[in-house]
Symmetry: D2
Subunit: 506 residues, 4 copies
């Protein structure tokens, strides 16, 4: 994660709005990264590009791939989508080698440079290393200040670079030992992949907040990825999740597993099941799609609705809506049609179009909705902006009653573990209770699944208050780690450089 | 339609493949155009851009808008999507005026110029006229040869230009009379919109093969569009379909309806219900979404399947799959997940990626499918290439039995009325019977809805052999018009110019 | 020539300023076109690109090449410079064939489309023809109105298209006959090249206002070009000028020369010697460089200056300055240095930079100029804007006295024969006499070469008032043809289409 | 300087050739950088862009500007020309502040990333610093290895970064002290500008190999630039050269001059007079233009030629040719015409065009040359490739005798002080003597100015062998510093990263 976004950027400098990614428009929490790594096979970079493409939902701002070709490292980092930026033969040819790691990064407002796109590369005295990570450190700025005081020079504002500088500063030794020493100094969430000239390394933080899975490629290569759907696209076999606190070191001789950290309770992010992960991924031995259907069933049991049809808010509300419809016996209908051509690129709508907002993406189908009582199923409410527009659109299409059911508890706290959340004050559920929310959104009834219902849906009998089995801080406020940087007064942010724009020749 | 595609282009000159539009990849028939027009309101071009955006599924290669600003006409034609090319304030400002027409055009292989993008503009002796049309003339080349012999110079290979030259050559008189005289000489399908410095004109061919709807905008303006979903996006009210053989002439004084052609039986394209139209459009007083669900129900009745779940082939198979699931009582499940980031732009996959094909777009979810018996619902089979890949993917994800049901009859004939169809020999259903198809596609069973079932689903008791109520030539071979150009030996195609590339400054 | 410029375009719509071509900045008259054609050799398009590159000074807005490949024509028209747009192998490969013609076009303010870039192509009943022309017709609009009334549809506002429509409308016959009949109806200046599927044709108007030269390529092919420097670049041999009123028809059997027009006095544009042509070209059996040196000598004789050094205004003033220095015995010095990196592309200077104007291009060298008396030699004064800035810069660099000598007579009339001239009211010499000009430009003395001096320099004893041997209308007002369009009241300009923007995919 | 070029890059990966900068084509030595800095005025970045534009001849690959806006630093680094990349208001607005430094960089083969474009920025514990430098360190790699062993992470392969890391590692103290301590560890040539949040600093290495001048802007601001021509463009006043071994520290209180290094003999690069500097610059109290004319005069005295005319090889041969012509009394003529439109952007000529080479840039004017005896004046011969083509072209244009005179001694050694030189073996004068060179180049006679003649021309009575007053190592081999890196065996070059490509969104 970068802290660049949080320190502001120039207000007003943003002249283009993407309807695909603008939080005001899509009103979702966003995973900030996805990682992928592959070792021991030809075409490593092409396979990495495919894996990143399957992880594109975890970050759309930019992507990077670093390969090792037996002699040197090759690194390409570009703004834009993997399918656009990393599919040309010319690019892939620049990334030769039998091992590679890659990264997709979420778009943060205002940042138009490439310096925070991962992977990062460093020439250590013991050789080169490339690192990519998904997560966020909660003591990154504190560590950074110490390192700068010792003469380290940072090229980015990324946490990942802090890890690399810590590694470079540890006494010489095998790279895995140096990296372990460095990681023992950091707090927070990280799922990290790295390559050197001999190894691929994967690490998950002691509590395993962010996902990381291990796969096997054609019986010879090893694969690491944020989600198992990245294995499917290249035909790799899912082996298992990397465990919380585990470091795997992959060489030509095979895989070694280490436990470099003291034991800690597992606290996997429950929001991965709610929204972040792709429905065709499997996490913690559960199908994400099934988990979402189960949430829908819990919701139908906890908060039934007397309506003619169940309408998903496309596309993330679909699995919960199927579950809700099955449990309630009310027909499932596509009452809101998505325009597949929206958000294909960054667009700047003219003033005349701007007020139409949501209609560029969706249309409520009058033929289905006119005179009907409907329940809309969505995965979460963040600011509430999209919900308001969707309900208005459904009412304008003639619906007689509009109810809404949400497949997660109210979101009332910011995330510090690698998820882009608005300021607490912007969260609708922080600002008001459920009845007030229903009034603002203009629905006839509104209900959220309970936290216990969510735990049941993902396979736990109920939430254990003393030791939550998941990180649910966004709902509960129970942060599982120290928040060191937060407790320090910040003057100026991590860097005096407010803007860095680089533009290579095409 | 342009005949440029049919005469070949340079083989091998195409170095970029779009997974979104390449027929080899998506294996669909494609509507070749959508039209929109608006008269009597400010911001006519911005509203036209929105309308075209809602019609984007009818053509993705390029789009054009021509406005009249009270004094002169302004015309912008660009390759690419409306949402990318026509949303910048700068572009919209160039298109000032209170009336405008627009056009989206389907991508044809090899054509990289702009000369066939509509609308077309001509300075007639009586003033300027801009025309856009959806359809295809079956005597365009014959007429073109006559016109060239008389000294007319064509700038494109488009049918639309033939209509304009015919109009320019008729004796002087009111433009609607001149246009009527011209249209009486053409054969084929056309839904046409035009503006002059005083009027907007809409015409549908005598049999009404292609759709055209009339709407009202904020009580003052008039709107014409290929589909009613283009009214929804701007908040316009659907009034009625333009009738087959009707010409409407809209001026500041209001709307005049004429019947310039001899009466003819109505033969609306039934494939609009099957696939072309958006599900939230209404055509011929029917909801397209409901029609598709009905086809699914017919299919469940005609060809039941003993399976655990109904899986739609995304996204076009969804409504029929919901109908099939409701009728059969078998659960509807999303077993195939679509990657929303595919096809965002033209991409050129590297050799290493190319064989992965379908997986860039879809993933079959192992957690849903493993060990299950499933029926896949798709709207049609054209070449069969995608079906083969989808079935293979579903089997690899562990499905025990894979059945397939198709929500249209076998497609065995080319269309000559504005739809991009492969050569007959490429159509899978032309080359083999249903059992052979099942073997090739590798499904345990395969069935198509019957032609009578299709007619029932769209509201006719059954197909009337003597006078079909729809054009169903792609299934039946019963073409409702003469095919004049086809019966002429063609030497060289319509133009000696094989390539025209123009590149404006950015 | 296009009349688009003269009818205005949208004021204020131009947001980018090119310091290379903006008349306010470079304050020159500009040739509006250059043409090139080659017949009977492989690589015709590549050779045409080279020829056009050598003619780039005659037009920088855009360029086009049309080739014939034995079966079909291929046409590429692009904005920008030949060296940028037509040198990639990919582009040249699209233009296969053994004959080709090409065209470079001068930038007119506001026009951002490609429709007026030549060559133009038309499918006539007798086959295809591509035409490019340099010049301007003085009855083009009158003819255009007649043609439109008969049903012809124009795609551009170019004179060239008028010629093609006239040709298309003549009764069938050999193409050279049809073209001759068409040209007998037009008035004005034209040097035209054309290809058909069998021939290349070159024509110069009856008075030969614009240049056109004939060359031989490697003993087998024929070449036509506006200037002989285009032969040098491909190693072709200069044969002779096409004569005024001559049409050459080149086929595989050789060259045929015709005289399709009544005899007329020769009136070659004298400004070609002053500024338009490249100094290494030969026109009318004279070296352009030598002619310019002779003008400098005449100037030194007619208007001596008591100074320390002769300074050319770069780069067009150099040959005359060398002549002036030789004749006067005063040293020639480069006191003004040109920055070669200016004007490389269209730039939009920020407000802070804008006032610096001329310094982006030139710097007056203080070390040379401080305390010196200098005479600046320039080829012409149009609006005077650049002269004012240059003199100010030279004074600021410390020159004690600044005199100016101009290698042409005062420019007081617009050109109607293919040269971009400001409105008469903008011409400095039209608005004031020489003393007033000297005051405005802030020079200690100012003198222009006399018209007789100019005639002597280009080889005529003196100007013959009854029958000038050159067209010198910009100095004298003696237009050698009728100006038919000028005498008609114009309502609306040639087209109701004010804007056409087309953008092909890259 | 970067060592990236020297370690190779991927052979064959370069598909585009610039005729403007390709050493094979223009066959010149190239200055690798120009620097500029301004302090204490509004619009600092806009003025820096102008200054860099005036220094563009010192480097065309890329440019960067870093400003300090009172609170933070803003940095933009782009490939391409200053006039293209830094003139848009949008870019300049991103670079607000009252102090700024900038850099232009020479194009090195194969490097397509931005990581070596300067200025570099670092967050030191004491605050931010941005640095740009012109020159090359001869112990950079040795120092780099030490720093990496201590845990420093380099982001580039640039010498400048070595200086910054050394600075970051010195004990805390005023930045000027820290920088002085760092610079005392380096060997080689550097003219360096830096800004912090309070200061602008300029330093010239102890022997003053590369130039750096000091100016005053509107009586309030201070300016530093590689050449005085960068002061002229913004209207700044030249104050004096920064002296060898001098550090100037500019704050709001004024300018402080320090001498942080032990005294050393002055060894300014004499090739700046021969070719690198712009003729309108003043260096070491001498006009560069006058110095070049003087070299031409010396050459005329040392090696007269019995010819009809003196022809400069454009454009760098012009001043020496004027001097030669004046001294010899032989007329100066422009016999070779330069095409101003060449090299405007990177072009990739097709195979058909490639062999034409030099003719894209120049044309020899037959009308001047036919039957004449000529002497060509050029500034230097490096590989000889261009000389061969120029002479061939002049002979083909009909010259009877072709002599050549070179305004510098034979170039026989590589430069290690910031000039891009070919390998010694590629230098024509290293491979053969003058007669052999004359044969290869195909001239009737060839002569170079003597080293003593060169010293006389630039104002020294003669070269002092014990202590040369200039660095003339490229002619003499007498390198004025140790060449530490050269004496170390290099395994792998400075970085294991062979390729870094970053592409920001537009």
């Amino acid at each position: 994660m970068t802290s660049e976004g949080s320190q502001g950027g120039k207000p007003g400098s943003k002249t283009e709005i993407s309807y695909g990614t603008n939080p005001l428009d899509d009103d979702k929490l966003h995973e900030e990264c996805g990682v992928f790594g592959i070792f021991g096979t030809t075409d490593a970079a092409a396979l990495t590009a495919l894996g990143l493409h399957a992880l594109q939902h975890r970050g759309q701002e930019g992507a990077g791939i670093c390969s090792f070709d037996g002699e040197r490292f090759n690194l390409v980092r570009r703004h834009g989508l993997v399918g656009d930026q990393f599919t040309k033969q010319k690019v892939i040819n620049q990334l030769s080698g039998d091992s590679a790691i890659g990264h997709v990064r979420y778009s943060t407002a205002g940042g138009s440079g490439t310096r925070n796109i991962q992977p990062f590369f460093a020439d250590l005295a013991t050789g080169g290393i490339a690192v990519a990570h998904n997560g966020n450190l909660t003591n990154a700025e504190t560590l950074r200040s110490e390192l700068v005081a010792q003469g380290s020079i940072f090229q980015s504002t990324s946490d990942t670079e802090t890890i690399i500088h810590l590694t470079a500063r540890t006494e010489t030794g095998p790279i895995a030992d140096r990296l372990s020493r460095a990681l023992r100094r950091v707090e927070g969430a990280y799922s990290l992949v790295a390559i050197t000239n001999k190894k691929m390394i994967g690490v998950r933080d002691p509590m395993g907040v962010r996902p990381l899975a291990l796969g096997r490629y054609e019986g010879q290569g090893w694969v690491l990825a944020s989600e198992s759907c990245a294995f499917d696209i290249i035909g790799a076999e899912f082996v298992r999740d990397i465990e919380p606190g585990e470091m795997v070191i992959i060489t030509e001789s095979g895989l070694e597993s280490r436990r470099p950290f003291p034991p800690a309770p597992s606290k996997f992010c429950v929001f991965e099941y709610v929204y972040f992960a792709r429905p065709d991924s499997t996490m913690g031995d559960q199908s994400v799609y099934e988990a979402r259907k189960q949430i829908g069933r819990e919701l139908a049991r906890e908060a039934a609705a007397d309506v003619d049809m169940v309408i998903p808010v496309p596309d993330s509300g679909v699995p919960a809506a199927i579950g809700f419809a099955e449990e309630s016996g009310i027909p499932f209908e596509l009452g809101i049609i998505r325009n597949h051509y929206v958000g294909r690129t960054f667009i700047e709508p003219s003033d005349q179009i701007r007020h139409l907002g949501v209609k560029l993406k969706h249309n409520a189908s009058r033929a289905q909705l006119e005179g009907k009582k409907v329940v809309l199923i969505d995965d979460s409410i963040v600011r509430g902006t999209t919900s308001i527009k969707i309900v208005q659109m459904v009412r304008e299409a003639g619906a007689k009653e509009v109810h809404m059911r949400i497949a997660s508890p109210p979101t009332i706290n910011s995330c510090f573990y690698g998820v882009n959340t608005p300021e607490t004050e912007e969260l609708l559920a922080y600002r008001m209770n459920v009845e007030e929310m229903a009034r603002v959104i203009n629905v006839d009834s509104l209900a959220f699944v309970s936290l216990d219902g969510l735990y049941r849906a993902v396979g736990e009998a109920k939430r254990n208050n003393d030791m939550p089995q998941y990180c649910d801080a966004c709902f509960s406020g129970a942060y599982p780690t120290k928040l060191t940087d937060r407790s320090h007064a910040k003057s100026n942010g991590p860097s005096q450089l407010s803007l860095l724009i680089e533009q290579a020749a095409e």
